[in-house]
Symmetry: D2
């Protein structure tokens, strides 16, 4: 027997929580071979590589970029490194899938968008949350006109893993995570989903951000993202914090829709609650990431509805986002399989999205869009007033 389908050879940069998630998910996608791992932590990179028979391990990611057999790379490092690593990968001619945020400034985001276009490579920013089947169902219901005209968009993205003064992570430091934390980390997921699902764009906003803990106790040793909760007793260093714990935003969208959202990393009991509610002239939808397989649809003159994820109940265009039968839950890891499948599909098939077709996955322009909204939120918070949000530039 002969294997006639050539696998795309890909590399993972970063060996933390997200690197592991990308590695596993990439191995679930057809015709993709994880051929290299880049990580400054040599032991972590070696362990991961050995476990999954990855032939190449490097502590300097540039070595991997120099390998012409590598087709694509995943950037899974801390935020502040995204720009330079992505730029290097683009210049090396690789297809790039970058974890969000694309960069930590609008200018850097614009540079990457332009460079990716010039290099004519596939580019993806990992707004994976779009890829829950029920999020796609909301989007497809809106496209089908089920919601009518959209009036109100509201919700929250709330977590509690940074509630205590003793909670620490590299994301707390502006140097590693960028000038915004809560709005950049999770607020950007919310706005990406809100614009993706509604098909509308935020035109103006008014934001109020707050750093409830102006100082935090930094542990003397490294802590993995989300791992703070199970720390034992530690020695801490009192450290000033200049990234926000919380943000609240009023906004307006094209088409007359109004909205409000909060983002919080200090909301006790909320582990990963991205709640998005959209109210239209015909009906409404509401979704909560903590129960991702459910979708609520609200009606004025009929009973409300609860969709339990079931391919047979999804809009045809949403069906391919669910791999499992009704009631067989698909979770966070499965969203990566879905986004990667589409990213690699577009590498394999040059015709996808080239002639004005809608992109099947979020691209660098979408990452830039979130930097633009975030920039407006920071400005609004500084000036304590409403700020217009520029429309996104032209896409290819």
């Amino acid at each position: 027997m002969e294997n006639t389908m050539k696998a795309i050879r890909t590399a993972i940069f970063g060996t933390g929580f997200m690197g592991r998630v990308h590695l596993e998910a990439a191995r679930r996608v057809e015709s993709v071979e994880v051929a290299a791992i880049g990580g400054r932590n040599a032991a972590a990179a070696r362990h991961l590589g050995e476990s999954f028979s990855v032939p190449t391990i490097a502590t300097d990611y540039r070595e991997i970029l120099r390998d012409p057999a590598i087709d694509a790379v995943h950037i899974c490092t801390p935020n502040a490194q995204h720009f330079s690593m992505t730029k290097d990968a683009l210049q090396a001619g690789k297809h790039v899938l970058c974890e969000k945020p694309l960069a930590t400034s609008v200018e850097h985001g614009e540079e990457l968008v332009a460079l990716a276009r010039r290099q004519e490579v596939r580019n993806c920013v990992c707004h994976n949350l779009r890829f829950y089947p029920m999020v796609q169902q909301m989007r497809r219901m809106r496209e089908a006109g089920d919601l009518g005209e959209i009036l109100v968009v509201q919700g929250t993205y709330s977590q509690d893993w940074l509630l205590y003064e003793t909670d620490w992570n590299w994301r707390v430091e502006a140097e590693a995570g960028g000038p915004s934390r809560c709005m950049a980390d999770i607020g950007s997921h919310w706005f990406d989903m809100a614009e993706h699902v509604t098909g509308l764009q935020v035109t103006s906003l008014c934001a109020d951000l707050q750093t409830f803990h102006p100082t935090r106790k930094r542990p003397k040793h490294a802590v993995e993202t989300f791992a703070n909760k199970i720390l034992g007793a530690e020695d801490y260093l009192e450290t000033a914090v200049d990234t926000e714990d919380f943000g609240a935003v009023l906004f307006r969208m094209g088409g007359g829709a109004r909205g409000a959202v909060t983002a919080s990393q200090v909301s006790a009991g909320r582990k990963n609650r991205l709640s998005l509610e959209i109210y239209g002239t015909r009906s409404s939808v509401a979704w909560d990431q903590e129960r991702p397989d459910e979708l609520w649809a609200g009606h004025r003159n009929a009973a409300n509805q609860i969709f339990v994820k079931d391919p047979s109940l999804l809009k045809p265009a949403a069906r391919s986002y669910a791999d499992l039968p009704g009631g067989h839950s698909e979770g966070y890891d499965d969203t990566f399989k879905q986004i990667f499948r589409r990213f690699y599909g577009s590498i394999r098939d040059a015709s996808i999205g080239q002639h004005g077709g809608a992109s099947e996955y979020p691209q660098f322009v979408d990452g830039l869009r979130q930097l633009t909204i975030l920039n407006a939120a920071l400005q609004s918070n500084r000036t304590r007033g409403w700020v217009d949000v520029p429309a996104p530039g032209s896409k290819e």
Copy 2:
């Protein structure tokens, strides 16, 4: 056998939906006799009176106010009549329980507060929603320090009964309902509850209001509140609308808490969803009026909690707000029994709340407080910016 306990004789003004609710609830309270009904609709007043053996019926409420045997009155008429009827009742020396809003302007509210104080009568504004057992449980948990310092307060009050252009009610008309609709009718309930439960006060806010239907089709015949949904075919008149369908508000509270809320009467599928979420440094609580017997408490380092209403699980100070055993639901009507019981208790016992003691029910100053917040929201919407909210004046 001899009845030694003299009943308080009370009157109900208004024979619509709220009048009926007040009548029924008053009959559930110990030692209260509904002795008179005042209503311009003579047939409705007579029917109600005969059904419940109410001896006096009048189409002119002033006749009832002239009766010295009447101790107290309930004002259940459309908003625009609250001020003058309450003023007349106060001047007649009656104890007054007024449906919210207390008036349609801050000035009128201040006048009523001052007059009630001069007349030395009991005064209550019917923010009955405070009286769900689980709302009191939230309040008592906060008082006990269970929440720690409050960081975030958020939620919504969403309904759908005015979603369609063909939905009509007297509340739509500024003339009958006052200059604000959605914020005044339901937003005020939300802010009253938020301040009551947190013990904090809104210090500044930024509001964005919207009238999605600038015109509505007014039916040629009268429609009862909430009854529009089951109307048959009708003839309508196209009518301009100047009250808002929706409001979104960012706000700050004393103590550094931040908040966001939306109020909407156009949110399909939400029938009467008042959702209030309070996040503190120790724990959180969340409540939804559509499931009033449940309370969610959120924790960072322990499982979250769901209280099913059960007197044995309530804080001692909240226990008297629940009449029924665990799992025996108490609903909207039961909140009126609770508020009336306390109002009449204070008439019977002159010592209650006279010497700086906390009031057991919302008084005219609380109604005035909501007019103040509403006024700030309207101003913020006009000026498109943040507005300071004056602190409440001194209470007796």
Copy 3:
């Protein structure tokens, strides 16, 4: 003004938890006057009477039965007294509304059914739980064919107020409560609702009952139903218990439907969870008393549905069971208002249900039906096998 509608004069026998519930609810019904209270606890009866201006109080209920001005009575005493008090009331020619169970044996139940028929009075057994608006919605959906043929009926009635060995109540004693406790007290509500909603009847069953606490610690002083949970420290007497804490039942219904149910008073965390699920060839419904205003409808080829109680969404025949607008919760107390309204309506209007029309409320034959089912369950438990359940006799 003249009151032309003569009120029906009624009496309440029993001054405990249920007596108070009946009293309040009766006062909410049009044209009913609570004219007498009978209670062996003179102080309790007097207090209740004075509070609600009830003119007649008696410690011997027979005095009240001798008063020809009394039209109807409510029997709210412990189970073992139901038979004799109801019999006396019927013989006195009164209309009788008896709390469930109607009696503690099938024979007594049959005697009361026959006597009520001879006396030609209105008779009602208080299966009030039928009167939640959403229960009626289930029934009306079934009548309309929405469910198709019924395949499966399942659920539970679970409480936790008798979980501990130290929990005590008169219901624990066979002498006061009858030979069955859990099945009689709450299992009977479940079967009444299941037969009422499905329109089918249990034809055979297999039951397994269990007394987990063969002895309980009886407090030396009286304890009100449900009040045990908030007792302080007490002196107890070790007492043998011969009524069951738990029952599980398999059953078959006419039409080929199959079912299973559990009833429990020892299920920690379940306060009053009556869950009824009905699966048909077209669709399903599920309801839980702890969230009474919600109804789930299940579909194979469409999204499931959640009804939030809203009169405009109810089947027309269910609409009159809801007094409040959408999302304004109606609770346990409100079911009594609904059942009493119909009982008194049938006293006022002799034409109701006389010529083969369906009864609007559960009658003594329905109480007898539950005694029959209970009797079969007790027999099945003794014989450890399936037992046929006799069909109900003819109704008037």
Copy 4:
């Protein structure tokens, strides 16, 4: 760099829905290489093999068994083939992971248990549902004594994918699926979980099974499991069905616990609802597979609890079953990763479970246990009475 960790080489037999699920999950496990795929459908096997660079594809699984380089096999074929394929694999000296049921008779199950013991290979039956993090949390809470003594165990496993007469799948045919369908397919998952979580064993039971559709319309072309719902119009053959659509079971467990469960494939709106509720003398737990990341804990004298899956909140012994941070959902596919990780771990480390240690995953004796319970249920249904369930034989 050199890969020092030798991967275990495994084969997947079966290329349907389950084969694909096993393939993906095996690729997520450390140091496992999927080296062969066996499937009678050559095209399906080839496609799967090419997509994932699997070097060996065979239409006769025996070819693969003859390859000494293959260490282990997964049996993912229809039920009736499990026995012979597993037997062949054991005789070839392979470690075997067999989809449930292990066989279609107790005798065959016993033969496989004995053979596996003689061959001294690792053996696993794929009761993957145990591996939801929240199921392990229930188990560990029980082990820690949080529940006290167990009183009541109840629940259901309900689906709707075989509701209609036109629904067809190989499982409907006794020849391919075995003599029992609903009880064997999903009832066995429920009983496995109930015994695993409680640590108790069913000692006697009484079952009532029902085939609501005695004939079904069989499509002329093959249909994948669960895929029937999205079929277009088809030609069907009327076919007699002798496997059950529904079963209800009363049961007793060691330690005095009582229980009831239903299993159904005809319950409209229930997609994959495995609900397990366990009530103990101290507290209760309830879990539903349709919301797998949530766990309800019930309390008599405290608020009930809702765990949102969060490693920091899990019992230490349950923590390793969750790979993702709080609120990041883990679904059906993730349970396979967890079970496979432990199966392959035991191949790699010969010391695991060899000296009386508890097995970390369900073994053939556990598969045999479910055949024993199923056999008792079938017998009880035939005899319409209670049947004792033999205790499991000794384990190694």
